[in-house]
Each structure stands twice: as structure tokens, then as C-alpha cells.
Amino acid sequence: MPGMRSSRLTPATKMGLSIAIATGLYGISFGALAIAAGLNLWQTIALSALMFTGGSQFAFIGVISGGGAASAAFSAASLLGIRNAVYGMQIKQALRPRGRHVPWMAQVTIDESTAVSLGQADADEKRRGFFSAGVGVYVLWNFFTIAGALLGERMGDPAAWGLDGAAVAAFIGLLWPRLKAMEPVLVALAAAVVTAIAVPLTSPGLPILITASCAAVYALATGRRSKPATEHGELQNVREDRA
């Protein structure tokens, strides 16, 4: 990665590394919850190493643990990953990477690396922020996923350890930082109501996808009011407050 200086840590590198530690640590909860959901060790490791986007990984195991079909888990995880395409576009615009860097940069284009990068003022700092947060989270997230999975394998009954409560907390923790305006709050409440109505009427897993469809229709109908993603810095607030 060009622009990295080894001698001293810049503010962007420090921010990236501190977010990497904070985020990496909760790989423990992902690993343990994936095992509790019924995945084996290798399936859990694959999700962190290959999928590597926390929200989608939690969504996948959240559908499985609720008794949903693997195809429904696949759909929920994929829909939740769509925001990463928007991030990739923003990172491409901000860092103007060379073509040969794109394959690995794409893999570490997630909430944290995008937020740290776009939060910086100058181009070199943007690059350092993306690199330190992206690679840092990747390494630590995978390490702690394995630790959590090994721990999960020894835990036995998930409810006895409060792991079902931990899963609820994990999802509200991912949602909370995004509820900073009235519209997201209303969208979240409406989504909860639609899901609750759909649960008794459809098979497990489907309520999440029905809710996603409703949200997409709503967003398409109201989309013209918001600005293009590359013109606003709202994203940078999403995760920084957690470091």
C-alpha cells in the first residue's frame, strides 16, 4: 500500500488500530454464537475469513439459529452486504487505488475501514485509515472468531450461558449507531412490526426477507430525497464512537 510510513503512527493509523481492536474483540461473540447456531468450526471460520462483513455474518447465523432455511440465511446475508458496494464506490472515489490493489481492498471494504478512511481530511491519512482499520479488523476478527468458536464448542447448552440474550444484544448493537435521525428510527420500528406480523404466518427465515422487500419498496419510493453517497459524510459517524 503506497503512502504508509513505518516510523510513527499517524492519527488515522491510531484510529484504525483502536477500531480494529474494539471490533476484533467481538469476533469472540460471533464465533461463540455461530457454534451455538449449529455451525461447525470450519463453517464459522469460513464466514469470517471469506464473507468478512460482520452484519451479514450475524444475519446468516441469526436466520439459522431461528430455524430458518440456509437459502433464507443466504438471502438475508447478501441483502445486508449491499451497503458494502456503496462503500467500495466511496473508497474508490477517495483513494483512487491502482487496479492490482482492488482485489484485496474490496475484501476489507467494510463499515469500519470505510468510516475511518472517509473521516480523515487528507489523501494519505484516508489511505492509512483504510489500511489500518481494514487489515487490522481482518486479522483480529478472524483470530477472535476462532477463539470464540473454540469457546463455543465447550459451552454446551447456549441458553445456559445466555448466548440467546447475547445474540439479541449483538443485533441491537449493530443497529443502534444507525438510528441517529427520525426516519431510521421509524424504519426500524416498522420493520419490527412487519416481522412480528409475518412470523406466525410464514416459515422461519421468511419474515426477515418479507421485511427487506417492504423496506426496499419503501426506499425506492422515497429515494429521490437523499443525496448521492459520495457527497455526504454521514457514514463516518456510524462506528467511530465505539472506538
Binding site: A22, M51, A212, G223
Partner: protein, 105 residues
């Protein structure tokens, strides 16, 4: 490989394909106000839906048990700006505590 493993692999490949799309799809396609609005709204709706499913359902039934206490405890932790891992542990502890004291199933 089991069916679940194949779905996991497919989901991983799709996640990567979506990420790389951001770099290769022409900007005017993705950088529309509609696209960013859809992505943001979908993210919020899916997470809210997952909260609901994990907190209030058991199979096809809506239930109230210790997990609602976990949700409340996690929200309190979030209001006090606790780090993510603390929020997760708070949720687990609340569920354990409610069950141990017999206040919830």
C-alpha cells in the same frame, strides 16, 4: 460438503462480488440517491428484523421470555455508550440473571 456448507460458500462469494462491484460498476449506477437510500434503509430494516426474530420468536410463535430482558439491558448499555463487546456481554448476563432468579423462562 453438507448443504449448509454450500450455502455458506455461496454467501461468501456473493459478499465478495458485492464488495468488488463497488469498485468496478460505473459510478453513475451506484452513486444515485436512490441506491444509497435503498442500501441504508435495507441495512436498518434487516437489523431491526433480526432483533425482532432473535428477541421475540421461537419457531413460528411470538414469545416473551428472558431475551426481552437481554434486549432492554443491551439498550441501556448502548444509551450509556458502552463498547460493543460490553453490550453483548450485558445481554448474556441479563438473560442468565432473569433465568437464575426465575423471573423469566
Amino acid at each position: 460438503m453438507s448443504e449448509l456448507s454450500w450455502w455458506i460458500l455461496a454467501a461468501c462469494l456473493t459478499a465478495y462480488a458485492i464488495k468488488i462491484c463497488g469498485y468496478f460498476v460505473p459510478r453513475k449506477v451506484l452513486d444515485s440517491p436512490t441506491m444509497s437510500h435503498v442500501a441504508a434503509t435495507l441495512t436498518i430494516a434487516l437489523l431491526a428484523s433480526l432483533v425482532t426474530v432473535n428477541a421475540f420468536t421461537s419457531g413460528q410463535e411470538l414469545v416473551i421470555d428472558a431475551r426481552i430482558g437481554a434486549l432492554a439491558a443491551a439498550i441501556i448499555a448502548l444509551i450509556f455508550k458502552a463498547p460493543y463487546l460490553v453490550v453483548v456481554i450485558t445481554g448474556a448476563l441479563a438473560a442468565i440473571l432473569l433465568r437464575a432468579t426465575g423471573m423469566a423462562a
